[in-house]
Symmetry: C2
DNA sequence: AATAAAAACAGTAACAGTTACTGTTTTCAA
DNA sequence: TTGAAAACAGTAACTGTTACTGTTTTTATT
């Protein structure tokens, strides 16, 4: 792969790195447009896909049918807020013993797992109690 | 809700119950069409949604962007085969302690989790070793 | 059994998120 | 400085899904 530098791609990555939730392509588009007013949505998608392919970001499929993107590529669990929809990184170790438990009654090969925790995020929890 | 009986809906549910993998709407459509040659794809979608709404089946969002459907509604974990894409039920208890671990370093409210195990299903594992 | 309102239907158009195509601009090694 | 490769903006196309239309089926009531 022979990459060439692109300001748009930098801006997309830089924007993602500023966020702890994990925006969708559309949110990236709207924000990067402040810096590049006529950036194309296609450019956003192309670069998000490219960055994900070369491992600089993660594409996260949460179950809402819309792709989210994450500048943290180290393996980690995600939390999804059921009231605001944001996706937040969790600070916990990978539970490898899960895979062993899953393997015990199963005839195939368990290689890993993806877990999404859900509930109310810190911001939304705070809002309700106030 | 005032439901009326429908042969097409019966056929859709009956088909789902014959499967241990968890077909997409399109697969349901292709199969039910053998019995109802001019059933509409819209009818398939409408009934899958209806059955899921009344709790007779589960809608499963696996992360491939396509909805899968499951006639087993009791809570259980799923296994996704990375080579053939099929989704299989796992026979294991819900690991509630996961939620406690996730809560410990997190400021929001963890209400539950969704986990997909992935790897090679029994059929695909067998094919490779043969 | 006849009837009529509600529900479901088939067929198709519309929609959202995403990807692919076009001709133009930018990057960067020679 | 230049020219090929890559990236771009803009837009059309694609895919999974939902919504709309006029017709048929179901089912409770006669």
């Amino acid at each position: 792969m022979n990459l060439k530098h692109s300001k748009q791609r930098d801006a997309i990555k830089a924007f993602l790195m500023t966020r702890v939730d994990h925006p969708t392509a559309d949110v990236v588009y709207m924000n990067v447009r402040e810096q590049f007013p006529n950036i194309s949505l296609g450019t956003v998608y192309r670069n998000l896909t490219l960055l994900a392919d070369i491992g600089e970001i993660d594409r996260i499929r949460v179950g809402d049918g819309i792709d989210h993107f994450d500048a943290t590529v180290e393996p980690h669990y995600h939390f999804i807020c059921t009231s605001c929809g944001s996706v937040i990184d969790l600070d916990m170790d990978t539970l490898v013993e899960m895979d062993e438990i899953a393997s015990s009654n199963f005839d195939g090969q368990v290689e890993g797992h993806i877990t999404y925790f859900y509930g109310s995020c810190p911001a939304c929890t705070k809002q309700v109690t106030n």
